[in-house]
């Protein structure tokens, strides 16, 4: 029997606290598109995507209407293209990027992920060719997202790949200089990348995935934040419990939407990604959750502990609400996409070093951070190497999505618009790691005993 209080609570979550389904992402395997002919490969990929995802957007809109909950994004992830590109030349890979763009436009999704390579242990010629044109691909398309996995806990860290990615990020920034270097916002460097992540820019359809799959990412920082604000003066045990209960409710809606989408599209349900994904909208901030827990500003000492508790409680609440959990699952802490993070950076309370510490206990990594445009390539490589090491040593996913905004310096800001938000340029430690980075090679996989 429906209870009036329950009805009002749900409506309040949706209307006032920005509860939404952040994304329905359809994963599509491209293995059966393989061809030794460049044009035929592109045509088969285009045909497969536009056939499989033909009804994705309209189905998402129908479900949105049925349950009265916004489904903000409908997206596609595909098999990492370096695994199906075979002998494609760099020009061939560029052509493939345009194919993905046209397919995404045709079906009406707002991003397509999988312009990706997995190079954690070494690099095939195919992956090298792909990486060499990632900056051009991101500059010449608007919907294509790219990711490169450069490390795993089992394989160690491919420092040669990190060196290439530092260069790719700088070139992507330069090629999109007239648009706030937005190319870099569509490029992620990963450690321990998940194969079923529905969130962009890092989504791709992993090697162990079925032919087609539906993965759903939930959100709701505003709901958690409001619940904590209403709780008043209670201890942290009570706060953790409250977060769990709230995460459970949010995730149940995600499960409902995912099941319905999978059934309507005749595609297996994959996973729910239990994430608190902020947006720049007021009241949709992970930083504000931490501040409601009792921090004066996000970034104050205590932030890492608060975030660790939040992240853990979200997972504990969400796991019971869903059949299958996967993807990134945890609190996201992008700077430009979170009003509270932006404010904390502007106040000088939140530094990149603190953000790095925070990524050791939550989802993803250094995300949507704008840095000075004149940052040397080696410093970017150093940022990547540090962040990736945290993931490798702690057996978790970490990632880097930084934007060296051309022509901008500390004190300036960049506005990407929409969900990508705006970001103040953050200062960096400018001492050079060049010699360390330029050594190249691989950092061996870490030992898993003698833990300290």
């Amino acid at each position: 029997m429906l209870d009036t209080r329950d009805i009002l609570e749900t409506i309040q979550m949706i209307r006032q606290e920005n509860l939404d389904i952040r994304t329905i992402t359809m994963g599509i395997s491209l293995y059966d598109c393989v061809s030794d002919d460049e044009d035929r490969l592109c045509q088969k990929i285009y045909d497969k995507i536009t056939t499989r995802a033909e009804h994705l957007v309209e189905t998402g809109c129908d479900i949105e209407k049925k349950y009265g909950i916004p489904i903000v994004n409908k997206r596609i992830s595909v098999t990492p293209v370096s695994l199906v590109g075979g002998a494609l030349s760099p020009d061939g890979y560029l052509k493939l990027a345009h194919t993905l763009q046209r397919a995404a436009e045709n079906v009406g999704v707002n991003f397509i992920g999988g312009y990706s390579a997995l190079v954690h242990k070494g690099m095939t010629d195919s992956a090298r060719n792909l990486i060499s044109v990632i900056p051009e691909a991101l500059a010449e398309t608007s919907l294509v997202c790219s990711s490169v996995n450069v490390a795993t806990t089992k394989a160690g860290i491919n420092m040669d790949a990190i060196r290439l990615m530092g260069s790719a990020i700088k070139r992507a920034a330069a090629l999109t200089a007239d648009n706030n270097s937005i190319g870099c916002a569509k490029l992620v460097v990963f450690a321990n990348v998940p194969e079923d992540n529905p969130f962009m820019a890092g989504a791709f359809h992993g090697v162990g995935e079925p032919e087609t799959v539906i993965n759903v990412g939930v959100s709701g920082p505003g709901v958690v934040s409001s619940a904590i604000a209403r709780a008043g003066d209670c201890d942290l045990t009570a706060i953790a419990e409250l977060i769990k209960v709230t995460a459970f409710k949010i995730t149940r809606v995600g499960q409902l939407v995912a099941t319905e989408a999978a059934n309507r599209l005749g595609v297996p349900f994959g996973i729910i990604d239990l994430s608190l994904a902020p947006t720049p909208a007021i009241g949709d901030s992970v930083a504000h959750i931490l501040e409601n827990m009792g921090l004066e500003v996000c970034g104050a000492h205590g932030t890492t502990a608060a975030l660790a508790m939040l992240n853990d409680a979200v997972k504990k609440g969400g796991v019971m609400a869903s059949n299958h959990v996967g993807g990134l699952s945890g609190a996201f802490i992008p700077v430009s996409e979170d009003a509270g993070m932006i404010a904390a950076v502007e106040k000088g309370a939140l530094s990149i070093e603190k953000l790095e510490a925070m990524t050791a206990v939550c989802s993803v990594g250094l995300d949507m951070i704008a840095i000075p445009g004149d940052t040397p390539e080696e410093v970017i490589c150093g940022i990547i190497a540090d962040e990736i090491s945290i993931g490798v040593a702690n057996t978790k996913t970490t990632a880097v999505r930084v934007i060296p905004a051309v022509g901008k310096k500390v004190g300036d800001s960049v506005d990407f618009g929409g969900l990508l938000g705006y970001a103040p340029i953050m200062p960096l430690n400018t001492y050079s790691p060049a010699k360390f980075i330029n050594r190249g090679g691989r950092i061996p996989a870490p030992i898993h005993s003698l833990k300290n």
Partner: protein
């Protein structure tokens, strides 16, 4: 299957009658109504059986929302499953 219809906004004559008329026109059977007026603020939750709906559910949602807009009210219609899923194990 049931739909939960919530109506909020400035009170006035005939709100329930108009919503009920629209429901009847779509063959949605009203099963329960809870309503309150605080000063001149009107709030109503209505539960309607939609098994025999003669239009698509999404059209039903749109028609009620349009009715609300015409009178300066917010009318949201949602399938009951979202509430059951969120609040019941």
């Amino acid at each position: 299957m049931k739909a939960v219809i919530t109506v909020t906004g400035k009170d006035g004559v005939g709100i329930i009658a108009q919503v009920a008329t629209e429901c009847a026109a779509c063959d949605a059977n009203i099963m329960d109504i809870s309503q309150s007026v605080l000063e001149d603020y009107f709030a109503m939750i209505m539960l309607a059986d939609i098994d025999k709906l003669n239009v698509d559910f999404s059209e039903f949602v749109d028609r009620l929302a349009a009715l609300g807009r015409g009178r300066g009210l917010e009318i949201h219609t949602m399938h009951e499953d979202i509430f059951n899923t969120m609040h019941h194990i």
